[in-house]
């Protein structure tokens, strides 16, 4: 029995963190944030050189064929850096192909996706509350895709989209067959588009969309945990330098206790997404509940941490120039995307037979 990380996993996280510190420190992050595209292709190609684009793809197609826990650990590190890179959608697209692609589809897409020469993403949500597969209207009939999706991350940069379809299905469609509508997203580290198809050429994948949504929920919980940890760290440092009433804020017990509460609520949520990610590969029967719990509780705690971080930064925390906003909005994305906590709490109640 070992509920812990391996040396390789520690190393994987450290590699990504070192990359993020070196290539995307806060001043660089701010430049990208304020740029037209909100995207720096060099960051993603750098991560691809480290093997991150091929993390989940099978070895036979040039990937590292790692597990969802490894992918989640990378998500934690990227959330901690608020790194503007298309990791989330790309990893889910590779996972969908790995679990549900035909040999021919895998051969066609996975080697290029794994190397980072091609980019994948996922198109799942429909409208404001259409995150669960049961609500989807987009339809694939006889190789023709018709419908509308919202909140598609990095859609304009992607080569291939994995689209959720009616009946818990997934379809593979090329971006060239997709009409994109730009959206001004709130989290500029992960820009989103709306997408439309009218009888576009598409192919079915042989895996339930629900399973890919579960993996997505786990990656978002991990990303939110990384962001919450970063916010606690930033706030801890800030309250030790900012002075009011002639002393650092950290000397006030109210401030110390608020930070202690933030850490106390956050730390246990780590074990939720660790377990959920492990279960995804090793105990699939436990994964749906574990993913729902990790997403619902983990991202909600992270949001509360972000609120507290803002509060402890005082007025400066509300400004565009303060870095708190990067992680605040990162968490906002993680909490909303694939369904708010209530959606996943309802699902977890149902899964427990309540």
């Amino acid at each position: 029995m070992d509920f812990g990380l391996s040396e390789e996993q520690d190393l994987l996280q450290e590699t990504v963190r070192t990359f993020a510190r070196g290539e995307c420190p806060e001043p660089r992050l701010r430049e990208i944030y304020d740029s037209e595209t909100g995207y720096d292709p060099a960051l993603w190609s750098g991560l691809s050189d480290l093997g991150i684009s091929g993390l989940i793809a099978p070895e036979a197609h040039g990937g590292a064929e790692l597990e969802l826990l490894d992918a989640a650990l990378v998500a934690e590190a990227l959330g901690g850096a608020a790194l503007p890179a298309p990791y989330f959608g790309h990893t889910l697209a590779c996972l969908a192909l790995r679990l549900g692609g035909s040999a021919e589809q895998q051969e066609r897409w996975l080697p290029r996706l794994a190397s980072g020469d091609a980019l994948g993403t996922v198109a799942l949500g429909e409208g404001d509350h259409g995150w669960l597969p049961a609500t989807w209207q987009t339809e694939l009939t006889d190789g023709a895709l018709t419908g509308h999706k919202d909140w598609v991350p990095f859609a304009a940069q992607a080569d291939v989209l994995i689209v959720g379809t009616r009946g818990d299905g997934l379809a593979l469609v090329e971006r060239s067959a997709t009409e994109l509508i730009p959206v001004e997203g709130v989290d500029r580290t992960r820009p989103v588009w709306s997408a439309r198809w009218n009888r576009a050429a598409a192919e079915p994948l042989d895996v339930a969309a629900t399973r890919i949504c579960e993996a997505g929920a786990i990656l978002l919980a991990a990303d939110a945990f990384g962001a919450a940890s970063k916010l606690i760290e930033m706030t801890r440092d800030y309250v030790q330098t900012r002075e009011q009433f002639g002393q650092p804020l950290a000397r006030f017990q109210a401030v110390k206790h608020q930070l202690a509460d933030m850490l106390t609520e956050t730390e246990p949520t780590r074990a939720l997404w660790w377990f959920a990610a492990y279960a995804f590969d090793h105990r699939p029967e436990d994964a749906p509940l574990a993913a729902a719990q990790a997403k619902a509780h983990g991202t909600d705690v992270a949001m509360e941490v972000a609120r507290g971080a803002f509060e402890l930064h005082g007025g400066i925390g509300f400004t565009w120039e303060c870095d708190v906003q990067f992680w605040f909005k990162r968490v906002l994305f993680d909490r909303t995307f694939l369904g708010t906590p209530d959606v996943h709490l309802d699902r977890s109640a149902q899964l427990q037979g309540w």
Binding site: M1, D2, R236, H257, L263, P268, A290, Q293, P341, W354
Partner: protein, 402 residues
């Protein structure tokens, strides 16, 4: 990460399970014996198998097994599931015995450890005083040497089980001129003597499991000083580490949650089960996720300790008390909301005592709600926990010493 138990551990679990099935409850003539005698017989057999008092040497009545937290956790799970009363940890066996082994002398170990394990001596803990709560080192009950005996005057409070106890271990001020922490000694003293008065402390839920103990010239031999004179604070820190074993049993919270789910299922609101109410479902689901987070976090700690890597889990170790306390209070508050108007009725004495076993009576839940509020204080107040987390984990400045 690999959550499968090894074959060796699975085999151990099967052996323990088979042993318990056979050994408890006692059968035939043995089942007619008085309860304490039955407990003693069971303990003897469990010790012989190496299932109880594993960290205590054989010469003091323990089973002297190699340190293995995984086996400990399997034993805890199996013993809890079988409902063996004899294995319930006592203050003496869980806290005092290990303290004596670490800090006491050979004579004290000889005289006290064996009788403590077989419950010939029942102990209570004498720490808190009316003027020394979170500020424990402010203890003012004093012990003055008279020949080879300490003579004690003072007042202890929140003393669990004092009326059943034969002896007390606790902190007393023996060096009035020394600084606050350096003036204390850790003494063992018999309670059945003139100069000791024990009175129950009635709680808000009607029960009285705590007592006040007044000393007016009570005596104990100087040979009952654990550690050196004036080093009682250090000895008491060792005891506190062992107290953790008695607090924060996640199996208890899980049983409580299962009970509250059943309570919600049975409760009818406007013609349907309260469990179908979206608000109740979400509150339950949230508490379920928080409990699951705590359980997996415990597993992470266990796993790190088993591989000799306890330092890597300092954060979860230090937040567990506060997290569990908040969680349990939210859970019992939900039960309190489900029982509705019955929450206006005072629990019966039986209900007030039944907080450890969730039974589906309104008074039990109400009593539990009140009792779990007390966990904000017992074993280290929540605001003290926040200080510790802020200072030791986050590295924030220490509170100024007044």
């Amino acid at each position: 990460m690999d959550l499968r138990h090894s074959e060796e551990h699975e085999q151990f679990r099967r052996e323990v399970h088979a042993f318990l099935k056979d050994a408890w409850p006692l059968r035939g003539e043995e089942a007619e014996l008085p309860a304490a005698k039955q407990d003693a017989l069971f303990r003897e057999r469990a010790i012989e198998r190496g299932y109880m008092y594993r960290d205590i040497p054989k010469r003091y009545g323990g089973s002297e097994q190699p340190d293995d937290v995984i086996l400990d956790s399997i034993l805890l799970e199996e013993f809890t599931a079988s409902g063996v009363s004899a294995s319930l940890p006592t203050v003496g066996a869980a806290m005092l015995a290990p303290t004596l082994l670490e800090q006491g002398n050979e004579d004290q170990c000889q005289r006290f450890v064996g009788p403590t394990l077989n419950q010939e001596i029942v102990w209570c803990q004498g720490y808190s005083e009316p003027g020394a709560g979170s500020d424990l080192a402010a203890v003012s009950s004093k012990a003055v040497l008279d020949g080879d005996e300490w003579v004690i005057h003072g007042h202890k409070v929140w003393t669990s089980q004092a009326a059943k106890a034969d002896w007390m271990f606790g902190l007393f001020r023996t060096e009035p001129d020394a600084s606050k922490h350096a003036g204390l000694s850790y003494l063992l003293l018999p309670l059945d003597q003139p100069g000791v008065e024990i009175t129950p402390l009635r709680q808000m839920n009607g029960d009285a499991e705590f007592y006040e103990v007044h000393f007016d010239g009570a005596r104990t031999s100087v040979a009952n000083t654990v550690g050196e004179r004036g080093e009682g604070w250090k000895v008491s820190r060792a005891t506190l580490v062992h107290e953790r074993k008695l607090i924060g049993d996640p199996n208890y919270i899980r049983r409580l949650l299962n009970g509250v789910v059943e309570l919600a299922r049975k409760t009818q609101w406007e013609g349907r089960s309260a469990l179908a109410d979206p608000g109740i479902r979400r509150r339950l689901a949230r508490i379920g996720a928080r409990l699951q987070a705590q359980e997996y976090t415990n597993l992470r700690q266990l796993s790190a300790m088993a591989s000799g890597n306890a330092l890597s889990v300092m954060t979860p170790m230090m937040i567990t008390k506060l997290h569990s306390t908040n969680l349990t209070q939210d859970l019992t508050k939900l039960a309190f909301d489900l029982i509705g108007g019955d929450a206006l009725v005072m629990p019966t004495p039986e209900e007030a005592q039944g907080y450890t076993i969730p039974e589906l009576t309104a008074g039990t839940y109400l009593s539990q709600y009140m009792f779990t509020i007390a966990t904000s204080i017992a074993g280290g107040a929540s605001n003290i926990q926040r200080n510790i987390i802020g200072e030791r984990l986050l590295g924030l400045p220490r509170d100024p010493r007044p």
